[in-house]
């Protein structure tokens, strides 16, 4: 079976600093992979290589066998990526429903000539409502984002990403900034989405939730791929523990 996403030997240097060093990662259909690593491990940089904000000096990124390099962010989204960002960015002048409905209208917005001749939003509104219900935001659908707490906006990011019908959902620290019960319920949601067939790459610092919901983890340290495999096995490895707790790497 063809993998959904392949990251092959990607290297990113910023000036003299190597942020990502020959990293590789393969994601198969239906996977839920926890992407962990200490601060400065290059997690965000690798994520940005996948979304197209950062260009790698070396390496290849393939989505269902198709190279993503050279494509702009919006082209990658159209190709099947979706991103829920770490720093929530709702469209502030719109309600939650409108935020999601806009993403649902991808078929209409891809061609401006179609967009200017399309007026009906009922199908998109209906689908947006379904998605908001799914992430538990039904009651807030007609509220404006500025009046809502962070936990709601994190869920909005997820709903908007789902609206794009992605082949791969990238979640960048969705649990950051949430309290324990909020984090737990959002993690449960992520697990449910995966159980329903969505392929997810979850970058997350909250190890406890990652270990709870992710069958597999990918660990990166100092820009290098350190380990990739079943979560329990990997997190028991001495080199992984050392990467997290600090200390020198023995020969």
């Amino acid at each position: 079976m063809q993998p959904v996403l392949e990251v092959k030997n990607v290297t990113v240097r910023f000036g003299g600093v190597t942020a990502v060093d020959n990293a590789s990662l393969t994601i198969n259909r239906g996977d839920l992979i926890g992407f962990v690593g200490p601060n400065g491990a290059g997690k965000t940089t690798l994520m940005r290589v996948i979304t197209g904000i950062v260009k790698p000096q070396e390496g290849e990124v393939l989505l269902e066998g198709r190279s993503l390099l050279g494509m702009s962010i919006n082209q990658r989204i159209r190709a099947g990526l979706a991103l829920a960002q770490q720093i929530v960015q709702p469209l502030r002048a719109m309600t939650l429903l409108e935020n999601v409905a806009l993403a649902c209208g991808a078929a209409k917005t891809s061609n401006p000539l179609v967009a200017m001749r399309s007026f009906d939003r009922s199908a998109e509104n209906q689908r947006a409502m379904e998605l908001l219900t799914r992430v538990g935001l039904k009651d807030a659908a007609h509220s404006e984002p500025s009046k809502l707490p962070l936990g709601y906006l994190k869920r909005l990011e997820v709903a908007r990403a789902l609206a794009l019908n992605p082949k791969l959902l990238l979640l960048d620290e969705p649990l950051a900034g949430l309290n324990q019960s909020e984090a737990q319920s959002l993690a449960d949601l992520i697990k449910t989405l995966n159980a329903d067939g969505l392929t997810i790459l979850l970058i997350e610092h909250n190890l406890r939730e990652v270990m709870r919901i992710c069958p597999q983890v990918y660990v990166q340290e100092l820009g290098r791929s350190l380990a990739f495999g079943p979560a329990k096995e990997i997190m028991a490895r001495p080199d992984v523990i050392r990467a997290y707790l600090g200390g020198t790497v023995d020969a």
């Binding site: 702009s72 919006n74 989204i77 960015q89 719109m94 806009l102 991808a106 401006p112 967009a115 794009l164």
Partner: protein, 282 residues
């Protein structure tokens, strides 16, 4: 009666011109401090062509196309800059336009082009024609605002990075806004040349660019009727009140500043809020 006709014609041209900027700045969130340059391209096109014997009506599409072409160029150059930087870039366009026109003998240089022929419309016919074009563009704006294109414009004006993450080709939509807005400004320029029968480099400078931006902001960025009302009002004010004519830039700037400070959503915002308040009471 002749005076009223002149007044209404000027008003209609201003409304069209302000709505054309509203399409770029109001709908798509791209500020422009050089919009008069595009009106200038339209005005000079009509002036030069009519001098060569081409009938007025035939010059309008050419004016729109030339202004729109310059709009594409400026739009492409502006794709990489945002906010304040976009304001500076577009300001550069108007200075460039005036600087270049001044040096061209075939455009009359410093003196401009005068003695442009009257159209076959007659004065009342021309007034009706201007009103018709302004109304048509207003309707077009309202239709676009309601369409999915307007929905996308809203998102770009709100946060273009988010629009990209939602799979929207932001550059394409921005260019469309630029082309439509600048082509419409070209048509407004065409009407201007016919109205005054004279075009000169000083008519399309920075002051005019700021004036039209003032109309958009006073009316309420993005609101079609608000901008139309503000443009109509602000364009006749200097003609009716001598003081405003003498201190035009001062008055407009003061208005611009007060609106930004106390009512950033303009007349449209003030009216909308009052209506809501009254509804709540009743």
């Amino acid at each position: 009666m002749a005076y009223e006709i002149t007044l209404i014609t000027s008003m209609a041209i201003s409304v069209l011109f302000a709505l054309s900027l509203n399409f770029i700045t109001g709908f798509c969130g791209q500020i422009s401090l050089g919009h008069a340059a595009f009106m200038g391209v339209g005005a000079y096109t009509t002036a030069a062509m009519m001098k060569a014997g081409v009938p007025f009506i035939a010059t309008i599409p050419v004016a729109a196309v030339l202004a729109g072409c310059l709009g594409v160029l400026v739009g492409i150059a502006s794709l990489r800059v945002r906010h304040d930087f976009l304001a500076i870039t577009t300001m550069g366009v108007v200075f460039l336009f005036v600087g270049i026109v001044r040096q061209q003998d075939f455009l009359g240089g410093e003196i401009g082009i005068s003695g442009i022929q009257a159209s076959s419309f007659g004065r009342i016919g021309f007034m009706a024609f201007c009103l018709l074009l302004a109304a048509a563009f207003a309707v077009f704006s309202l239709v676009i605002k309601r369409s999915w294109m307007g929905f996308v414009f809203d998102s770009i004006a709100d946060n273009e990075d988010v629009s990209r993450v939602l799979g929207i080709d932001v550059s394409k939509y921005k260019l469309i806004a630029f082309v439509v807005g600048t082509a419409a400004a070209g048509v407004a320029g065409s009407l201007y040349a016919q109205q005054f029968r004279f075009v000169g480099p000083d008519s399309f400078g920075f002051v005019e660019s700021v004036s039209v931006l003032a109309m958009v902001i006073v009316g309420g960025i993005g609101s079609v009727w608000g901008v139309a009302v503000a443009a109509a009002g602000l364009s006749v004010m200097p003609l009716m009140i001598q003081f405003v004519d003498d201190y035009k830039i001062l008055v407009y700037s003061a208005l611009l500043f007060s609106m930004m400070r106390w009512a950033p959503d303009g007349l449209a915002g003030i009216v909308n809020r009052s209506v809501k308040r009254i509804r709540r009471r009743s």
